[in-house]
Subunit: 315 residues, 2 copies
């Protein structure tokens, strides 16, 4: 068995974070149903505080710090939604947040972090430079690292989304979740398969950053040689913890082309009037493209976030 | 007294149309509240069927046709949301819809009308040509004209939005509604001031098409010499019916610049993750710009629609 959180951990997390997050709505759309040949239920984490699901895991981790740990603040590394979530969750607890961001991170994401009071340390935009910078910050500040996904508390927090979705739509047949480092998929796969063992959990991944798909096939953690995808939230790679959970709990990983991502994003904007980011569209594409044998079924789609730079849209 | 619909008419309309429309959510947003210095309640008609409030009035009118009238179908003139709404409401009743549209109407709007089974007649893009074409169609087909706003049934239908909003937020202090031909503002002003007499109803209008503002000041219906505004749903003018209702029920009309419209639209997209069209942003701008003495108050904002051409965004 993996060392992932249990359903109980996720249930406790849900109660712990409830005062600090939105219970996001589940939306439906007749015209997307028609395309999918299925009944789609969209869990709208784009409407979540900070504009993505990440506030769930960050809040769950930060609320569990001891007073002594909290006094030293937290450290994380992220160029995007997790950075803003940690900054906000730290601010809610009144503690410092040190965020390592690549120096090419979008200005809008940096502003969001600073708007929540986070302190940014810029580094070279490589995996190694970010890891090194965050280690150095932990040493210097004594702060606790809140990793974006290699953290049971974070994974438990993310899983609360599926818990809510299954409360609203108990008889779900399929659940589509984007996968990057695997924190969101791990937490929601544990929650969904525990509450409803018959549900089929499908990870959705850009074909241009398909490490999870290849890893589950080969049985080893595979790396992304490149991650050239518009889905800027899905460029990370699995870690031992999330890989173990995915092997146990996930039925399938589907790969989505860049064109499919943009088309699905546009569909949701046009038909549902919801701003979603490309990473969220990765879980929409297999539904409307009928790539997951969901026809005639009740299919949950986790819309992971809505943070996009409106000055640089792909349409 | 004007010959507008009564609160009872609007209540009956609400029951009549309920099976055919969405009860749209009322959303809130902490960061827009901070800008406004007020508690804002957004009635999300962008999430309504056909992407705008127009389905309310169209449905209310079409459901009241006698069997003999219905058999001859309906006629309307609109380049935008009312056209799609009439087409859809007619389809729901299984009757024909003939729509006069200017020949420069956006292709996406024409596709929406045709998608609902509406039959389009193109005409020159002038007020006179559209009126003449619709009169001709009424003569030829024997169909009933469902005017976009010069129609008590349509006005009563539109007013059901404020009825719902006040059910969800009974203690509203201010209500902001876009104004064009005045159907939406008339219906919602009647509903809101009848249910809650203390509410201050404010019409919101592009400064570049400010006939309503000038009309209420002069006491006569004033025309727009031009209507050069990005708010493509707000280029029409008041008629006798709506002018009379506005004089009785509306406290103020505020004028909004083109830049304010685009900025407010962008704010809602970025912070609320909602796709709204420029016409809806016209009611957001006075709230976030503190132009309506709403500070410290509960302010309702009617987000009238979300139909935009994603290929031609102003940002």
């Amino acid at each position: 068995m993996s060392a992932g959180p249990s359903l109980d951990d996720i249930r406790v997390a849900a109660r712990r974070i409830a005062p600090f997050i939105h219970r996001t709505p589940v939306m439906t759309c007749a015209s997307l149903d028609a395309l999918a040949g299925a009944k789609l239920y969209f869990k709208c984490e784009n409407l979540q505080k900070t504009g993505s699901f990440k506030i769930r895991g960050a809040t769950n981790a930060i609320l569990q710090l001891s007073a002594a740990e909290a006094a030293r603040g937290v450290v994380t590394l992220s160029s995007g939604n997790h950075a803003a979530a940690v900054a906000r969750a730290a601010a809610a607890r009144g503690i410092a947040a040190h965020i390592v961001m690549p120096k090419n991170a979008p200005a809008v994401k940096c502003r969001a972090v600073e708007g929540y009071g986070g302190v940014i340390t810029f580094c070279e935009p490589t995996f190694e430079a970010r890891e090194a910078a965050s280690r150095r910050l932990v040493e210097e500040t004594g702060g606790v690292l809140v990793h974006p996904y290699n953290d049971r508390r974070v994974i438990a927090g993310q899983g609360t989304a599926a818990l809510e979705l299954l409360e609203d739509v108990p008889e779900l047949d399929v659940l589509l979740v984007p996968v990057s480092g695997g924190g969101l998929l791990s937490g929601n796969a544990i929650a969904a398969t525990s509450v409803r063992p018959s549900v089929r959990v499908v990870g959705c991944e850009p074909a241009n950053a398909d490490d999870a798909c290849r890893s589950l096939k080969s049985g080893h953690i595979e790396k992304n040689a490149t991650a050239d995808t518009i889905a800027d939230g899905l460029r990370a790679q699995l870690c031992d913890l999330t890989f173990g959970i995915l092997r146990e709990r996930v039925d399938e990983i589907v790969r989505v082309s860049e064109q499919e991502i943009v088309e699905a994003m546009r569909l949701v904007w046009e038909r549902m009037k919801l701003v979603i980011e490309p990473s969220a569209a990765v879980a929409v594409a297999p539904a409307v493209g009928r790539a997951v044998r969901g026809e005639g079924k009740r299919v949950g789609v986790l819309l992971s976030g809505g943070n996009v730079d409106l000055s640089a849209l792909p349409f």
